[in-house]
């Protein structure tokens, strides 16, 4: 398919009034070589029955850049060829008849510097509702260095976060306060204190804890900060609690963030549902106020989970690194939420590496240079427990926040015991790994040995020993291990 020639109509015939196929209007340029400064998007295109795949892919390029349904003479008032997005490659999706990977290049001048809202309004704008397509998914993007450099990036970044917290050499430990809803401020602070004193580094508001009748936000903030300071004094360690400042308006969010800052919190959180512009605003605020910014990806599964339609989470992760959050939930692999191991690995690399090489088996389609933009700490949360520590360390590495909500608060001897169990399990595993032991296979043995001198860990291992979530993943990469000329 890539051997085709351009069929673009040129000269004055191109601008005759009427309807012309997108692939003849200049949106299909199989010989185009993307420039280093181009933004590249990879879409999975599923055309309606009877629609020519090349035409469908050209239409995606057209509708996400300059085109409308008919020829317009006003194109001739512009450098139209530069502004047209160019689909330059169409491949059938392996093992998925009727779907095609379309590679589309966009000139840098199509985008406002430093604006996720502007980028996304083009790339995932009208085009997702385009009738000739059954389904459309944005799989990956290559963001040129020239564009990356127009963004602030993570307000704090992994290295500075670790320096501020004085915590090195191991994953950070957190827990989400449960129950998610209904606790009063005073009771809520109790959970925070117990978990932090027991050995966790962070506790966290859940995504839907904002300011409800059972607990208004100021109550929560004040009791939480008392708990954080008490736990710091009790342990001699820096502690934090993600105060969720998500609210109905920017003014409300700023008010809550300012208050968190005033009472001495080192971290706040926001939900993905506040929108890209609000996220960028909060990231700038966080940089200005020495605040770590945690992002809970509430809502993402509505568009990331199904393979044929929506936006891959790897793209969301890239946008969030640009937008400037410091933490992002990126999957656990072994926990209760969706997460194919290879796909999840791809997300983690996007958050943490300076350079991502193309790696189809991880769903990474492009080389991505992050140009020294800060690294962002992935967070593993949802259905994980101390007994999985060796797997978590192996799959997710060291620069990650491991969040055990139920796995801390559900401990039979209470929250402090749950926190201690997790911390001891983690430290024992890091010690063993650094000693060069085969900790992945000897994991259960290492944990059992650590439990000999730590009753809370022994109890945790007994309670949750058989808990796993083994379900078929709905979002695994589609690739052929060795490149071949697919026909």
């Amino acid at each position: 398919m890539n051997m085709q020639q351009s069929i673009t109509v040129r000269g004055k015939d191109r601008y005759k009034s009427g309807v012309m196929e997108y692939k003849r209007m200049g949106y299909w340029e199989p010989n185009y070589e993307p420039k280093d400064t181009d933004v590249i998007a990879l879409f999975r295109v599923t055309p309606q029955d009877g629609v020519d795949p090349t035409e469908a892919c050209a239409a995606v390029a057209g509708e996400s850049s300059t085109a409308t349904w008919t020829v317009v003479w006003t194109d001739r008032l512009t450098a139209a060829e530069k502004y047209r997005a160019k689909c330059y490659r169409v491949d059938p999706v392996p093992n998925s008849p009727g779907s095609y990977f379309a590679y589309i290049a966009y000139d840098l001048d199509l985008f406002e510097p430093g604006s996720i809202a502007n980028l996304t309004a083009s790339i995932i704008g009208n085009v997702f509702g385009f009738k000739p397509l059954k389904a459309l998914r944005l799989e990956d993007m290559r963001l040129p260095v020239a564009y990356v450099k127009t963004f602030q990036g993570p307000a704090t970044g992994i290295v500075v976060e670790r320096e501020r917290l004085d915590k090195f050499g191991r994953p950070l430990l957190g827990a989400t306060v449960k129950p998610k809803l209904g606790l009063s401020g005073r009771n809520y602070g109790r959970v925070v204190y117990e978990a932090l004193k027991g050995g966790l580094d962070f506790t966290k508001d859940d995504e839907n804890i904002n300011s409800q009748p059972f607990m208004h936000w100021r109550e929560r903030f004040l009791y939480c900060i008392e708990a954080v300071n008490r736990a710091q004094a009790a342990t001699g360690e820096i502690k934090g609690t993600y105060l969720n400042v998500t609210a109905a308006t920017m003014e409300d969010m700023y008010e809550r963030a300012e208050f968190a800052h005033k009472i001495g919190s080192n971290i706040i959180m926001i939900d993905l549902v506040i929108g890209y512009t609000a996220i960028q605003s909060m990231a700038k605020w966080a940089r200005k106020n020495n605040m770590i910014l945690h992002l809970h990806r509430a809502g993402h599964s509505t568009y990331t989970r199904q393979r044929n339609h929506g936006v891959s989470f790897r793209v969301i992760a890239k946008w969030m690194r640009l937008a400037g959050v410091d933490h992002i939930h990126a999957g656990t692999v072994v926990g209760k939420l969706e997460g194919d191991p290879n796909t999840t690995r791809g997300y983690y690399d996007i958050c943490r590496e300076e350079f991502n090489p193309t790696q189809l088996e991880h769903g990474v389609f492009f080389d991505q240079n992050w140009a020294s933009l800060n690294k962002l700490m992935p967070v593993a949360s949802g259905g994980i427990h101390a007994g999985q520590m060796h797997q978590l360390l192996d799959l997710l590495g060291e620069d990650v926040v491991l969040q055990f909500g139920g796995g801390t608060i559900g401990h039979p001897k209470g929250i402090q015991a749950g926190a201690t169990a997790n911390r001891v399990a983690l430290e024992a595993m890091i010690l063993a790994r650094n000693e060069g032991r085969d900790y992945v296979h000897e994991g259960p043995e290492i944990l059992a040995k650590a439990a000999q001198t730590c009753t809370p860990l022994r109890e945790a291992l007994d309670v949750w020993k058989d808990v796993t979530f083994n379900y078929e993943s709905t979002d695994a990469p589609d690739f052929v291990p060795t490149p071949s000329m697919a026909v």
């Binding site: 290295v159 670790r162 320096e163 004085d166 090195f168 050499g169 191991r170 050995g199 004040l222 900060i225 008392e226 300071n229 008490r230 710091q232 004094a233 009790a234 342990t235 001699g236 360690e237 820096i238 005033k262 009472i263 001495g264 300076e354 020294s372 690294k375 201690t420 911390r423 001891v424 430290e427 024992a428 890091i430 010690l431 650094n434 000693e435 060069g436 650590a450 001198t453 730590c454």
Partner: protein
């Protein structure tokens, strides 16, 4: 109380053999190992005193263990920590840090609260050990 800063404070105190294994891990990664000590373990006390410079060129854990033994001889009544420093681009900071020596008694911290308007409280964490002048903080031991 037990100060739980560093990577391994929730485990029983490391033996010298265990410390040497962690040091070797740092050296194998190409990190510079540093020994520091303090008699004020306040969580915001970033700059502990350095026992000499970070050992950028030392490639053998035994050499570092000897330095640690010397440091313990002089400052065995204080906190001593070992850290591994990675100078590679994009990190250029500490990669691991853990406590290898503690005073026999760890008096811990007092939390001071200053009540202010609107239920706000200014918190201050006070190291009990720091009530005495530097150098005399664990003199009884």
């Amino acid at each position: 109380m037990r100060v739980t800063q560093g990577c391994f404070s929730f485990l029983p105190d490391l033996t010298d053999e265990q410390i040497a294994a962690q040091v070797q891990y740092c050296l194998d990664k190409g990190w510079a190992v540093n020994i520091e000590f303090t008699d004020d373990p306040h969580p915001r006390n970033t700059y502990w005193e350095m026992w000499g410079l970070p050992m950028f060129d030392l490639r053998d854990a035994a050499g570092i263990m000897k330095e640690l033994a010397d440091c313990r001889r002089v400052y065995g009544d204080r906190y001593i920590r070992v850290s591994g420093f990675d100078s590679s681009h994009g990190w250029e900071s500490v990669r691991i840090s853990f406590i290898v020596n503690r005073p026999r008694e760890e008096p811990g911290f007092r939390l001071d609260r200053q009540e202010s308007v609107g239920r706000n409280i200014r918190y201050a964490t006070h190291s009990y050990a720091a009530s005495r002048p530097e150098g005399e903080r664990y003199a009884d031991q």
